[in-house]
């Protein structure tokens, strides 16, 4: 039988690596034995070499697992032996094995079963920290990437505030997504000091980390895990004694796959299994909450404990310089304006944002002799006819500006200069550009359903069916020509006061996800 608990080989380099793994296994098993067996888990002879100590710990722990049949203890034993968390099928096989085998037979089984995860999980030679007294927060993508869009922004505003106020453990995944690990120094900077230290190198290597194993505690997912991570998280939620709570952004890959790149989706399908096993979902809008409630409803026939879905909208926390009239951030734009009314459209260029409808409505207005400028602010995006259409319209002399890489300063400058903004997105989790426009008193034309309609409820917006080009054109015409309608919306927009800050959001989110997890019905 191939085992991970092998005596060190005699070859020099292979031997050193093997000894490192064996020594790490010994220490991890000692931690687990102490957690599960208490004083009975202390090896009687401290002079035992690593190999014999491992066999001693395994013997004790396997007897215990077979006798007590506790899933959380089996999960922890597997994790510590492999240095990687088990998947659901690993656990199901383990539960079957412990019901049929003696302690000794089970030891053979688990050594074999954990060997592949030990090789591929990325943490076999790592030390382990067992966490049972604090929430563990998974910030993997945020820590490992300089990307700073919606989800990372929520994490970088919320997690540092939690860290200042509470005792939490932030984690990323090992190289092959086998287990949680501690963060490297620069990764911590990405999470906790983004606003001052976000120029760190993307590639970070060489620094030691240790495994972090959540056990009988709470795991917070503020981001969407990969498919591989999800297989382990589902097992964690089912078997480890920990529960998973998460921020629910949207279900776009499930409800609107046509608005995403055609090869996207596998990670999200794996994630749905994690959602299914979660305890609390804090959604970023009421609309997103309804999506998650629908998913929970659809899962009811499976008779699993239903996650509690809480609508916990994002804040609209405007930077202090957003209202600074002296900010002329972009001379090109100022020069381009030439006294004409400006319509600003914020967002990446992808089908979901519906920018082709905006171009179509604008072209109809231009052909009718209506004089205005249209500015698109926002980078990225993929695979649309947008760029082609922009070129065609520019050739016709249309006053059209596209800025794909814009700083916050330029963006706020543009939104303040705009007569109104237009955001007819087909599906949003929250719709931040709508709130941001209103926060500086600029009216918005936006979608008449979902999260954008929620934001619009208190005024300052003209709502349209984003699939109806004629409605969009009529709304733009109205806000350009009808001064009374424009002034009414402008006054409503100016009167909108967004009082909730990231501080408020972080405090409330802690209450929703950590303090009240598992309480009450959905």
């Amino acid at each position: 039988m191939t085992t991970t608990a092998v005596r060190p080989s005699s070859s020099a380099s292979g031997g050193a690596a093997s000894r490192a793994i064996t020594h790490a296994q010994r220490n991890r098993l000692a931690t687990v034995a102490n957690a599960i067996l208490g004083d009975d888990g202390t090896v009687p002879d401290r002079s035992l070499d690593d190999y014999d100590a491992i066999l001693w710990y395994l013997g004790k722990l396997c007897d215990r697992v077979v006798l007590e049949r506790r899933d959380d203890e089996l999960w922890l034993l597997f994790t510590s032996l492999a240095g990687a968390m088990p998947g659901e099928s690993d656990m199901e096989k383990g539960i079957d094995a412990r019901s049929r085998f003696t302690g000794s037979e089970f030891m053979d089984w688990i050594i074999a079963a954990s060997s592949a995860p030990a090789v591929w999980g990325g943490g076999a030679d790592s030390a382990m920290e067992l966490v049972s007294d604090r929430p563990v927060v998974d910030v993997n993508a945020c820590a490992r990437s300089d990307r700073h869009t919606g989800i990372q922004r929520v994490e970088r505003e919320t997690i540092p505030r939690w860290n200042a106020a509470h005792d939490i453990v932030v984690v990323a995944w090992t190289h092959r997504d086998g287990a949680y690990r501690s963060l490297k120094e620069k990764e911590r900077a990405r999470v906790f000091d983004w606003h001052t230290a976000h120029t760190v190198d993307s590639a970070i290597s060489g620094e030691e980390t240790h495994l972090v194993v959540p056990w009988r505690t709470r795991v917070v997912l503020p981001e969407v895990p990969s498919a591989r991570q999800s297989t382990r998280l589902r097992a964690l939620a089912r078997f480890s004694g920990s529960d998973i709570v998460l921020i629910g952004y949207d279900l776009i890959p499930l409800t609107s796959p046509e608005y995403l790149p055609k090869d996207s989706g596998p990670d999200f399908l794996g994630y749905l299994g994690v959602v299914k096993r979660s305890a609390v979902i804090a959604s970023i809008s009421e609309s997103a909450a309804e999506e998650f409630r629908g998913l929970v409803d659809a899962m009811l026939p499976q008779q699993l404990p239903a996650p509690k879905v809480v609508s916990h909208p994002l804040p609209v926390d405007i930077p202090s310089n957003a209202w600074d009239e002296t900010l002329v951030a972009n001379k090109d734009l100022a020069d381009a304006q030439q006294g004409l009314p400006v319509i600003v459209c914020v967002g990446s260029h992808e089908p979901r944002k519906n920018h082709l409808a905006v171009l179509h409505a604008a072209e109809r207005l231009w052909r009718d002799g209506v004089n205005f400028e249209l500015w698109f602010m926002g980078g990225g995006g993929w695979g649309t006819y947008f760029d082609v259409r922009v070129k065609q319209l520019k050739r016709r002399g249309r006053r059209l500006v596209v800025r794909k890489a814009v700083s916050d300063r330029v963006l706020w400058d543009a939104i303040r200069r705009a007569r109104f903004t237009v955001f007819p997105s087909l599906h949003e989790g929250f719709g931040l550009p709508v709130a941001e426009s209103l926060s500086v008193g600029t009216p918005v034309i936006t979608t008449n359903y979902g999260s954008t309609a929620e934001i619009a409820e208190a005024g300052g917006c003209m709502l349209v069916d984003p699939r109806d080009d004629a409605q969009l054109e009529a709304a733009m015409r109205s806000l350009l020509y009808d001064e009374s309608v424009f002034q009414q919306l402008r006054e409503q927009a100016i009167s909108r006061i967004f009082t909730r800050t990231w501080d408020d959001y972080a405090v409330e989110l802690w209450d929703v996800l950590v303090n009240s997890a598992g309480e009450g019905a959905r």
Partner: protein, 319 residues
Amino acid sequence: MSARTARLTALARVARLTGARRRQWDARVAMVVAAIETDGNGSAARTGLGGLASELERGGVRETWLALAVLGGALPGSELVVRVRRRLELDGGWAAINEILAARAKIRHQGTVEVSLAHHLALIDVSGLVDGSIRLVGRGAAIATVRQWSQRPEARLVVWTSRGDNLRPITAAEAAHLDVDAPVGRADEILVPWQSSYLLAGIVDDPDRADRAIALGVYSGNGGGTLGFGLDPVLNAEDEAYYNGPRRYAWHLAVARSLPRLVAGSTRAGLEYQGWKRMLPAVGLDGPDIRVVAFPLRELRSSPDWAAATDTAWIHLIG
């Protein structure tokens, strides 16, 4: 582009079509114009390309969809339908014909397919049922239901072509595989539904076919619906999700979302679809009208109860 320039450009493009391709184009133009006129919306004042340009300008989005489906040689996806419709609004019928000709030029197999209009029929899409290559909840019940439905005179069983851009009648071999006695066709014959119903009894879960099926549901004016047996591929996707290439059950649901009606084949499936429907207002849609038809157990598929259930499902889906 001015209307005159658009007209001259379109005529020049058509003039470049020679021989069989030109005859095929002219026949398809006549087919579209005749279909619109039969619909009661046509003017019949002009024939040929001029007539088509006029009909497109007078018609709505479903006439645009029909012209793209027949003249373009492939059922169009949503983005193409909307793009041509916008071009029509801005620059008129001749400009739209240019867009259709441009789309047609990208389809390389024009000469090898024969387009027929499926008028006042019920096209039952059995993709995934014939080859059995797709894991489908309730596959056996779906086949048994299709067997019953296929006895109706208006029923035509179809699958997507191997290129995934058109619907074609099932072949004799496929009919034998399903054990149905239904009209069959050739693999190079394609059917474009017009004033018909599209009933999805199989599965359409790859992006390209689904995109075209969604456009059919949203823009073509054909009615129809989905026969569904639950959301298992999504709710229990788990580890399978990764190895499924580009296929996603979410695409199949997006097609179901675009059709007006859905029959859930069990109480459990009904609950799952109602949950799914609750998600749809986030994307501004109500979703289909769902009706639960509890099909009898497997061993009762030859019983009167089974026939009654399939009749009820048919009536709900056809509307």
